[in-house]
């Protein structure tokens, strides 16, 4: 069984956001899969999709702090500057964190770890709504 759908996320502020529920709620077909997987592709190059802790929100605050230090804005070496100081660093963060996840599905549910959630990294100051192509496959 194969199923594909574009999932739209509401606009988020710059930073890291838990989006597991927002994605799963748009995929009612998930509960028809007994053994399979869900592949997600974020169709953008200035945001990211990763897995991280779903409990204490200070982990996500610290992710934003650390990535801003790892990839600072306004570095004199940057050539790609015409889309604003947050743009090139956003492309680098997107490359470091990735935009693609393939997750196991078991008995109609995502088989994540107890403390794992899907995290959108919004790396632009005003990124707007973000699109994910979700591909579900498996035994029904």
């Amino acid at each position: 069984m194969w199923f594909q759908k574009t999932v739209q996320l509401t606009p988020k502020s710059r930073g890291f956001h838990l989006v597991t529920d927002e994605i799963v709620h748009q995929l009612p077909s998930l509960n028809q899969i007994k053994t399979g997987q869900l592949s997600l592709l974020l169709q953008h190059t200035s945001a990211s999709l990763s897995l991280n802790e779903n409990a204490d929100p200070t982990v996500r605050t610290d992710l934003e702090t650390v990535f801003n230090k790892l990839v600072p804005e306004n570095h004199p070496d940057y050539q790609h500057t015409f889309e604003g100081p947050d743009d090139l660093p956003a492309h680098i963060k997107s490359a470091l964190l990735g935009v693609q996840l393939t997750l196991p599905v078991s008995n109609g549910q995502l088989a994540l770890g107890t403390w794992q959630g899907i995290v959108l990294g919004e790396h632009r100051n005003r990124g707007g709504s973000r699109r994910i192509v979700a591909t579900l496959m498996g035994d029904g």
Copy 2:
């Protein structure tokens, strides 16, 4: 053909460890797949799963050295500190390296490059046993 199983890794010391054999030995069904793939999800947020050199062990020593410098412990900006100084850096390293791999299977074997191995990054001082959900799919 779809097959799913939880693979348990023995506890590892902090650092980077080759785990290709430990995973493959727990997946005898692999040799039933002619053309397909194996998806692995490490169900943790303070360890990582990546591919790297399977030969000279100093590459893995250097990975530990470099990631400890990239993401230092005890930075005064960190807010998530109550689980110990190694915890927040472990979450960051897990996000940078990732926890998910999808690997080709050909004639019953993983089709990795000659020098590629699956590497567990254990980023906690005492991470304990780690769990991987393995999903096998393909033509039998």
Copy 3:
């Protein structure tokens, strides 16, 4: 439907290169997939495969600049030095950026975002030709 093939890339200079077309041209079977996905595994540990902007080439120039600063050559702590000063940094960049992508296929085409392209990071000074195992799967 399952289909697997090794795709060979021509040798590239050190840096980041758009390779979407070079890969797709070697996969004519792509247009037989109505709903499915394409998994790519770069079979090397000193190069990387990621998604990034397919338009302004200065983004790729800046990727090379930033990753050279994040992972400098000739650091006195490195132990794995016998393959040249560019080798160990190449392994680290490969781990940071990853070597594996799973991409949605829709109506015979890759369903990437408008501004997304597949990017080979060649992290060696003379990396030579690189190999990718491409696995296509889906409903025909």
